[in-house]
């Protein structure tokens, strides 16, 4: 037998994390409907909240906090705002900056789930007598007969967010509630459900961007924090300098836009970022084929089950909205080693690899190195 809720046969004391968006509001409402004793909490993650959002959608504004409060009022649950700005700054924002500084491409949403929502928030919730933290993520927790838990992709693959939850371990899963996970509904239907429940956030636009970069300008944010440092853009094949940049940290492997290379490559084809070297502040570019990767190693593996994954064939997801790839994976000396059946393109160190067995999340790790199909130099 499977269950979507941890020990759903009894009402739980649930702390619902409410961002001010439609998903977390509907999730909280569903938790109430399932008979749980729910308290809403909005996490204040910015030390200096902007009064109203400027440009891109964020999740740290006063307006979001008010939207969350209003949703809690309508649902009829107590609501509080908890200040986790300092923890968020230390564990997510500073990590984000130092990863970029080191030439990697971090995923702050995974980090936030691992360190904030299912660590700082969960720990505080448990200490205060709550049983579980509820969020509006699209993913499914399956309770096995032996009491162990599995994290699975959402029923609706198009909305699945199990990738950003792949960092959760057994203990974190045991206290996680994802009421939207088994919904085979479109986003429009979630909005319709919100409308039906009288939640004003029904019409609110989705958030896409990194919540702590309100204007969506990641490059500007990084330049502001790390300073500009002019460096060379070098063609890998010829070793020739083909342009300059204002800081290697601003680039991502596989990036094509924004290189501002004056003259085209000899073969006339576009060039992509192949490598970022913070040590000599150099960005290496080359043709698209040079992005093909046949293997990678990843560090800090975290397993959703109790034991580390056995060597074998899995499917892997390499970025938040990426597809699935078949891989062979094994753990050697605490490090995940992965080889691909078919070469994959645009694998960026710093991103997470999440391994799946069917729909089940096996675990995740942070990509450290890649082996390219055509090592040109």
């Amino acid at each position: 037998m499977t269950e979507n809720l941890p020990r759903a046969h009894r009402p739980l004391r649930v702390l619902a994390a409410m961002s001010g968006g439609v998903d977390s509001a509907v999730a909280a409402a569903r938790a109430v409907e399932a008979g749980h004793d729910v308290t809403g909490v909005h996490l204040a993650l910015s030390a200096n909240p902007q009064s109203f959002r400027t440009g891109a959608r964020g999740c740290c504004t006063i307006e979001d906090s008010r939207d969350a409060r209003r949703a809690a009022d309508v649902i009829g649950i107590p609501f509080y705002v908890w200040d986790l700005a300092e923890r968020f700054r230390e564990d997510v924002v500073e990590d984000f900056i130092s990863e970029y500084e080191a030439g990697r491409t971090p995923n702050p949403c995974l980090r936030c789930n691992e360190k904030i929502k299912f660590a700082a928030l969960l720990d505080k919730a448990l200490a205060l007598g709550f049983d579980a933290v509820c969020t509006g993520h699209y993913a499914t927790v399956v309770l096995n007969e032996d009491g162990s838990r599995e994290l699975h992709r959402a029923s609706d693959m198009a909305k699945d967010q199990s990738y950003v939850l792949g960092v959760l371990d057994e203990k974190q899963l045991a206290h996680a509630l994802f009421p939207l996970g088994d919904t085979l509904t479109t986003k429009d239907e979630i909005r319709a459900e919100a409308e039906r429940r009288g939640l004003a956030v029904a019409k609110k636009p989705d958030s896409h961007d990194i919540c702590f970069i309100a204007d969506g300008d990641t490059q500007g944010f990084l330049a502001n924090r790390l300073g500009k440092a002019e460096g060379d853009i070098v063609d890998e094949a010829t070793g020739e300098k083909v342009g300059t940049h204002e800081g290697a940290f601003g680039f991502t492997i596989g990036q094509r836009k924004g290189l501002r290379i004056g003259h085209p490559a000899p073969d006339g084809k576009p060039r992509y970022v192949l490598d970022i070297s913070p040590v000599n502040n150099t960005v290496t570019v080359g043709p698209v084929e040079a992005l093909d990767v046949t293997a990678l190693t990843a560090i800090r593996p975290r397993w959703c089950g109790a034991v580390a994954a056995a060597p074998g064939t899995y499917t892997a997801q390499l970025r938040a909205h990426g597809g699935e790839t078949e891989v062979f994976a094994e753990v050697v000396d605490g490090e995940l080693r992965v080889s691909f059946g078919e070469p994959v393109r645009g694998v960026a160190p710093g991103q997470a690899i999440v391994l799946y067995d069917g729909t089940r999340v096996v675990g995740s790790a942070t990509i450290a190195t890649t082996t390219r199909a055509t090592a040109a130099v």
Binding site: A44, P49, V81, A85, L128
Partner: protein, 387 residues
């Protein structure tokens, strides 16, 4: 349900509610000249007279506003502008650092936009201003002081200021002293006429009157520059159609507050002392905030070492006990209280504070409910720690 947050707002007195609803049925703009207007005007003026008597002022010294915040803004900004216009050298504003944000932020605004030099008075570890410090600040250069503002009693920690002493010093130098008496009215003797103050703020909903009404008691020799311009009501200092039902109800509440004050203060003080003893009994290391002697009779304020105030609030709320962390909110986020920081409280300790404030509906049962809940709540909040 134990409501221990009367300093935030207190239930409306039935007599005030009756006076208000009676007025809802009547028509008339108090500035109109016809019969309906005259009836409204008469209601307002009778209320003004009753209100003035209750607070020891002349009717002409009562300026009705839309609440305490507006009255504070009118006093601070209006007096600053008027005094500086009369003599451009007067740009210094002397203020206590523990004022309510309605005063504090108005003072900040004057510093940022109007060239005010703000001088914050030192306070002792109970957040109390001392007359000698005020005298020293004034005498350094009496000619450059635009105004001074020191609250009568603190809204968070309940400390009572020596307002009459301060007012006497201000008068020696012809400096207007404003005092926010929103928390003090109904608990302390704040009669305006013999206070020596130039201006004093009170609010309706803190004394059992309605929301959305307050008053600035304003000495007849004071002419602050208006914040709201318009039809010239209220001595041309505060324009806007008078809210007749609210004025009538406010006056009823003020009269009752004044009549009942001494007995209320005695009884509520005894209940408050029980509350303090109960909290100390359950949590021996709880630290009482504010002056142990010179404090509002209905106020108790504690810091609980190792606790987050918002954790305590959540746990007590779940037990039906309603209180406040007593600190300011930005987007609902609790910040360490500026009052406690000014009083030199350790910032870590200042994160774990609760204010319990009693009022006219408080009972021994309320205190007993808190006594039963506070120990386990503190224990649990400590395991959650300071995140």
């Amino acid at each position: 349900m134990a409501y221990l947050d009367h300093a935030a707002t207190t239930p409306m007195l039935p007599e005030a509610a009756a006076a208000m609803t009676a007025q809802f049925a009547a028509t008339g703009n108090a500035s109109s000249l016809h019969a309906a207007g005259r009836r409204a005007r008469r209601t307002v003026e009778e209320a003004r007279e009753a209100f003035a008597e209750a607070i020891g002022a002349r009717p002409s010294e009562v300026v009705f506003t839309a609440g305490g915040t507006e009255a504070d803004n009118l006093a601070v900004k209006g007096l600053y502008w008027a005094r500086r216009d009369a003599d451009p050298a007067r740009t210094r504003v002397i203020a206590s650092p523990v004022e309510h944000h309605a005063v504090l932020d108005a003072v900040h605004w004057l510093a940022e936009h109007e060239g005010a030099q703000v001088e914050y008075l030192p306070v002792d570890r109970y957040g109390r201003v001392h007359a000698e410090a005020f005298r020293e600040a004034v005498e350094r250069n009496p000619d450059d002081v635009a105004l001074a503002t020191v609250m009568w009693a603190n809204n968070e920690i309940g400390t009572v200021m020596p307002v009459r002493e301060l007012a006497a010093i201000a008068r020696e130098y012809g400096i207007p002293l404003h005092s926010d008496a929103v928390q003090a009215f109904g608990q302390l003797d704040v009669r305006f006429g013999d206070s020596g103050l130039a201006a004093m703020t009170v609010s309706g909903h803190k004394i059992g009157g309605p929301y959305g009404i307050g008053a600035l008691l304003l000495g007849r020799d004071q002419s602050p520059v208006p914040v709201l311009h318009g039809g010239g009501q209220e001595r041309h200092v505060r324009s806007g159609t008078l809210d007749v039902p609210a004025v009538a109800a406010f006056a009823v509440a003020a009269v009752l507050a004044a009549e009942r004050r001494e007995q209320f203060a005695t009884e509520i003080g005894a209940l408050r002392d029980e509350l303090i003893a109960a909290v100390r009994g359950a949590v021996p290391d709880a630290v009482l905030g504010g002056d142990p002697d010179e404090r509002l009779p209905a106020n108790a304020h504690f810091s609980f070492p190792g606790c987050e105030g918002d954790s305590l609030l959540l746990l007590l709320d779940a037990q039906g006990i309603e209180c406040s962390t007593g600190s300011a909110c930005t987007a609902g986020v609790a910040q360490p209280s500026h009052v406690l920081l000014a009083a030199g409280t350790d910032p870590q300790l200042a994160r774990g504070t609760l204010r319990f404030s009693l009022g006219h509906t408080s009972t021994k049962e309320d205190v007993a409910a808190l006594a039963a809940a506070i120990g386990p709540a503190v224990e649990r909040a400590r395991t959650a720690g300071l995140s």
